[in-house]
């Protein structure tokens, strides 16, 4: 009920504000909801393009940098360079006669009793800590080498996991999967639920009773049951999770839409459409479904976080997304197993998950308020 100046006989016709414009204005004015929207866009963008910018690939394993704590500092840390060199020299079966470090490069003098096989120097770059070596000087018949290597500058903002993979990159890549599942499963649930609910409500009578009975039965089936049965039929994975989650979540949507349809179908404009001879599918698509869009949008926004939560629950149990693909649920499961030695492995993915879910919930609430025609513009 927006406030309209009472138009005088000669005044210009009052500009009507469309419901969509009104809702948009309300949403922008609702600060928590708008902040949530911005946050969501930020998380989604980070997940989409972030993995290209972190400088690591999600599968890359740094065996020498396992369980690195989060931080801004570059790795390897200065105090670990000498021990690392000693360790590598031991593996190369060489002695370090001289060691000096300057401007991010190390100059080594390596000695041995025998002639040094220069191929063994490949141990240095292979350790992830150093770049390719350049030999500056060969002396004593190749038994003494002066070698210069660059110290790598690796950054792990959120640390590394128990295998030595960059956690930030993994969280962002996992976010792609989690968000993808959230959106796709919601979309599927939306399509199935809206169609089912609208048809059921529109047809009414025995068909409606039967269709709602089916929904009741599906409600009484334990959800995990579906998933496990699907899991043993097909191989566990992304698509299975999508199907399983959507198969469960369309029920609520169907109920909401059915209730709305029941109240809409006795309205005059629907009766008029019937009197004009429109077919039932046409009435459904042109009059019923568009009028239920408000509650549907709200329900869908609130469904996305539930789907993401379900997926992470399944992945936590090991029934969801399978390696090498990963999702926030998978990462949280890994993190809770390594909780005592590397608490950031739980904190990082859980943080991403919680921020996304809170934002989605806030946005859903904001949308519900914005689309509520009873509130003032």
């Amino acid at each position: 009920m927006f406030h309209v100046e009472h138009p005088g006989p000669m005044s210009a016709p009052a500009r009507a504000t469309s419901l969509a414009a009104l809702a948009r204005r309300r949403l922008v004015r609702n600060r928590p909801a708008f902040a949530a929207l911005v946050m969501l866009v930020a998380v989604a963008l980070a997940c989409l393009i972030g993995p290209l910018l972190t400088g690591h690939t999600p599968e890359r394993i740094y065996p020498d940098l396992v369980r690195t704590a989060p931080g801004l500092a570059a790795h390897p840390r200065p105090e670990t360079v000498r021990p690392a060199i000693d360790r590598l020299a031991f593996r190369m079966r060489l002695a370090v006669a001289d060691f000096s470090e300057r401007d991010g490069t190390v100059r080594l003098t390596l000695t041995s009793d025998k002639r040094i096989d220069e191929r063994s120097l490949s141990y240095l770059p292979r350790s992830d800590l150093f770049g390719p070596p350049t030999i500056l000087e060969r002396a004593e018949d190749g038994r003494r080498l002066v070698v210069e290597v660059r110290i790598q500058q690796l950054h792990f903002l959120l640390g590394t996991d128990v295998l030595g993979r960059d956690l930030l990159t993994r969280c962002l890549v996992a976010g792609r999967i989690s968000l993808l599942i959230g959106l796709t499963a919601t979309l599927v649930a939306l399509l199935v639920g809206v169609t089912y609910g609208a048809v059921s409500g529109m047809l009414g009578g025995a068909v409606d009773a039967l269709m709602m009975r089916v929904v009741d039965i599906l409600y009484a089936l334990p959800f995990v049951f579906f998933v496990i049965v699907l899991l043993v039929f097909f191989r566990a994975g992304l698509w299975l999770v999508l199907v399983a989650v959507a198969a469960v979540e369309w029920l609520d949507m169907a109920r909401i839409v059915r209730t709305q349809t029941l109240s809409l179908k006795s309205r005059d404009f629907v009766r008029a459409a019937q009197a004009l001879g429109l077919t039932t599918p046409a009435i459904l698509s042109r009059h019923i479904v568009p009028n239920t869009l408000g509650p549907i949008v709200v329900a869908a926004t609130l469904l996305v976080p539930r789907v993401i939560l379900l997926e992470s629950f399944l992945s936590f149990l090991g029934l969801g997304v399978q390696e090498p693909a990963t999702s926030w649920g998978v990462l949280i499961a890994e993190g809770s197993r390594a909780l005592e030695s590397a608490p950031w492995m739980l904190a990082a993915p859980a943080g991403f998950l919680v921020v996304s879910l809170v934002s989605l919930n806030l946005l859903g609430d904001g949308l519900a308020d914005a689309l509520d025609p009873r509130l003032d513009g």
Binding site: I217, P222, I228, S336, L339, E340
Partner: protein, 307 residues
């Protein structure tokens, strides 16, 4: 009212029947059997095992037998826990899960209704915002994150409470699992209560009560009665889920409840255990939905006419 309850119970029988039938055939369609080991059994032993459990019969005969024993309340022998029947397993595990679940439900109702009411009466104030933020966090943090966090903080860090184990149900061992179970429900109930109360508080009869000068707590009681309905309608499935145990909480805290049985049973192809869990959960859902509807009729007399 009794007639209504009876009619609802009768209506539930076909639902349960379809659930049982559907699950029975779905789980049998899955490849693999309960006696598949890494080293296969000799064929003769396999034959004997199958004969012993009646698995050599045609599927439809097995189904008929299962329905018959189910009607007598016998859920059959477990395949993975040898020498135990599914009834035995439930008799052991259900008290654990139900204790945890009912405590969590009680806590969730108490705190959820309380916080939701507080927020509605302090609408737009600091309290309201805090409850709102707390509720969105409570809904967003999954139990498999809260459980290890609680263990780390209260179990290992402060060493106030044990990290896990059942220990005959001693109260200290109950605290952390119950809190873990209750947190998301507290959040959900608080949110629902708040929004339902806000709606009720705007209605004329509440304005009248306020104008008559009733003390706020009397107004709150009156308003809460109207706001209880939406809360009650969601409570059925929640109560059923809480009382039949949570896989996550029981695994993380090492509790011998029935939450794990479903997942373990399905992975081991323990047909009777899976079926037993399905039946139990379905019965619970039906029962608690009925209880919730009856309570709703108690709260709101208008609903009795429809009965």
């Amino acid at each position: 009212m009794i007639g209504y309850a009876l009619r609802r119970l009768l209506q539930a029988i076909p639902t349960l029947f379809v659930v049982v039938t559907l699950s029975f055939f779905l789980i049998r369609l899955a490849p693999g059997g309960p006696f598949d080991l890494e080293r296969p059994l000799p064929p003769a032993a396999m034959e004997n095992l199958k004969r012993l459990y009646g698995l050599d019969q045609p599927l439809i005969v097995q189904y008929g037998r299962y329905l018959l024993s189910l009607a007598k309340g016998d859920l059959g022998p477990s395949f993975s826990f040898r020498d135990l029947t599914v009834n035995d397993l439930f008799a052991r595990g259900l008290p654990v899960s139900a204790t945890l679940g009912s405590l969590a439900l009680g806590l969730a109702l108490l705190l959820g209704l309380g916080l939701g009411t507080l927020a509605a009466f302090r609408r737009g104030k600091m309290t309201d915002r805090l409850v709102g933020i707390g509720a969105s966090l409570g809904l967003a943090v999954p139990t498999f994150v809260t459980a290890p966090l609680l263990q780390i903080v209260f179990g290992l860090g402060l060493a106030w409470l044990p990290v896990g184990d059942w220990d005959g149900g001693s109260p200290t061992h109950l605290v952390l699992p119950v809190i873990t179970l209750a947190l998301p429900q507290i959040a959900a109930i608080a949110r629902l209560t708040r929004s339902a109360l806000n709606e009720v508080l705007a209605q004329p009869h509440i304005r009248t009560l306020r104008a008559m000068g009733l003390p706020p707590w009397r107004v709150a009681l009156q308003a809460l009665r109207g706001a209880l309905l939406p809360v009650l309608s969601t409570l059925g499935p929640v109560a059923a889920a809480l009382l039949t145990g949570s896989v996550i909480v029981e695994t993380i805290f090492g509790l011998p409840g029935i939450g794990r049985y479903f997942v373990d049973g399905a992975l081991n192809r323990d047909y009777t255990l899976v079926m037993g869990t399905v039946v139990l959960v379905a019965v619970m859902v039906v029962a608690f939905n009925l209880i919730a509807d009856l309570l709703a009729a108690v709260v709101d007399p208008r609903l009795r006419l429809g009965a």
